[in-house]
Point group: C2
């Protein structure tokens, strides 16, 4: 869990990382979250700050009406996270619950690679792949369901593998950081230390690394062309572990997308800027925006 | 050109259809449009109505800032349609320029099959395929570029044909009404009277009609699954000539989409309700909404 205390201007006053006790089950994960929030609030008070709002982002599907979260990774199923948070921290603070990737996209939009755009995409390629879509100036919610670009099909026929989601040929099965490491290991029988090692092997001229990399690039290119055709972003910010490859990733994506587009508006393809802190910063921005909206009497987002 | 006079409550006071002189070139098409608008305004005045706004929808890419339209079908390339319209009808009326399919979607949202939805899709399958996307309660514009679902790739490998747009394997090459008729003719050597005849042959048990139909359904199912995963609509309204097939089209799409979804929210798949008038009604709704927004001092949409 990446967490911190963030001032209204986006300055990070304190940051820390805590373990997520996944193996202990959903209740333990929730308890660890509540404990973290309470302890951070105590630390803020001890440091002389006033906590105005708490932003929590999770890798799951949020039911905004009921304040519940379903997240396979955390063993949560319609878990009443919002109510538990409110009970734990008291009623003086605003509490905001959001999807982690969408929060990351919000941070990139507010202070990162997507600043100034009205139609854009934040696409972190990490353990999984999800996307934050900015459409006509707003971050898309789709009642919590939108943005699952990682679970759209870009591998066809006999090459398609089954995804953890149950579908076949999802982008995530071929182009996530986890997929690159897994596919390299399956291909060579050699277990590697994540996508980072595959990228190192690629730089050293390893032929198997080149194959799994090329396959990932082909699927990603397809996905960006599809997204560009359907939603017309002016900028696409790639994040997550894979973007550690830098231009090795970005240059062929740009060339591949450019070569495929005919009538569409061509997006810039850039690296995301906020790295692993994007989700935390987005949680803070969303929480502060909620405070500002409340103060101005506007409807909350 | 489908045109009419529409009251503020959506009642159609007059409707007519005029030819589009495509073969005479872009200037002739524009002149015919201007003439139509002027004559309809005169008719309205003669009937004792006051024209408050003119809504014009076109099958092309609109540059909202400059009021220009590019539309291959009409031989328009950055043609200053808005300025010409304003010059032709005078400055007393609001003029609104919009994309025809998005306007159709707006009408379905206001009075048709998408009424009451906040995340939904209008997908007319006609000569071509474009889509109107409703996301978080708003019709998506993407600066005029969004919604080109017909030009995303759902035919792969050697089966992919080149599309008029220059790309390969577009949905439009296999699942538009025009594609069905063309593919049946190519397969059998027998020219048919549009998709309608293919649908009739299908009902009569024609094996070739069954093949082209099945291929269209497979690509459409893929497209709806992709769209559902990415944008999470609660309802999808299919329009255009193909929906004349009714449940022959809709039932297998529903079954196909249902069978493929795993974690996604399943959308209703229904027939659009407004038929060929959707674009005209959408133009009118958009124009009236512009008038209402002006009167209330709000920003125009």
């Amino acid at each position: 869990m990446k967490c911190g205390l963030v001032a209204a201007d986006g300055a990070v006053l304190h940051r820390e990382t805590r373990p997520t006790p996944r193996e202990a089950g959903g209740r333990a994960v929730l308890s660890a979250l509540l404990e973290t929030v309470v302890e951070l609030a105590q630390k803020a008070a001890a440091d002389g700050h006033r906590v105005r709002a708490v932003g929590v982002v999770v890798p799951g599907i949020i039911n905004a009406e009921r304040g519940t979260v379903s997240a396979e990774n955390l063993a949560w199923s319609d878990t009443p996270v919002l109510a538990e948070l409110r009970a734990a921290i008291g009623l003086d603070q605003q509490v905001l619950l959001a999807h982690d990737v969408r929060a990351g996209g919000y941070a990139e939009l507010r202070q990162g690679a997507l600043t100034g755009t009205t139609n854009s995409l934040f696409l972190p390629l990490g353990t999984g792949i999800a996307a934050a879509m900015v459409v006509d100036g707003k971050l898309v919610s789709g009642d919590g369901y939108a943005g699952e670009l990682g679970h759209t099909r870009f591998v066809h026929g006999s090459a398609a593998e089954q995804c953890a989601c149950g579908q076949w040929g999802c982008l995530e099965t071929i182009a996530s950081a986890a997929a690159l490491a897994r596919r390299y290991a399956v291909r060579t029988g050699r277990v590697v230390d994540g996508a980072r090692e595959v990228i190192e092997l690629l730089a050293q001229g390893d032929a198997d690394a080149a194959v799994v990399w090329r396959e990932a690039l082909a699927a990603l290119t397809d996905a960006l062309v599809m997204y560009t055709t359907l939603v017309a972003p002016t900028r696409i910010a790639i994040g997550g572990g894979l973007v550690g490859a830098g231009e090795t990733l970005l240059a062929p994506l740009r060339e591949g997308v450019h070569a495929r587009l005919t009538f569409q508006r061509e997006p810039e393809i850039v690296a995301a800027e906020l790295g692993e802190e994007a989700g935390m910063l987005g949680a803070a921005w969303m929480a502060w925006d909620r405070v500002a909206a409340d103060e101005s009497g506007e409807e909350t987002v």
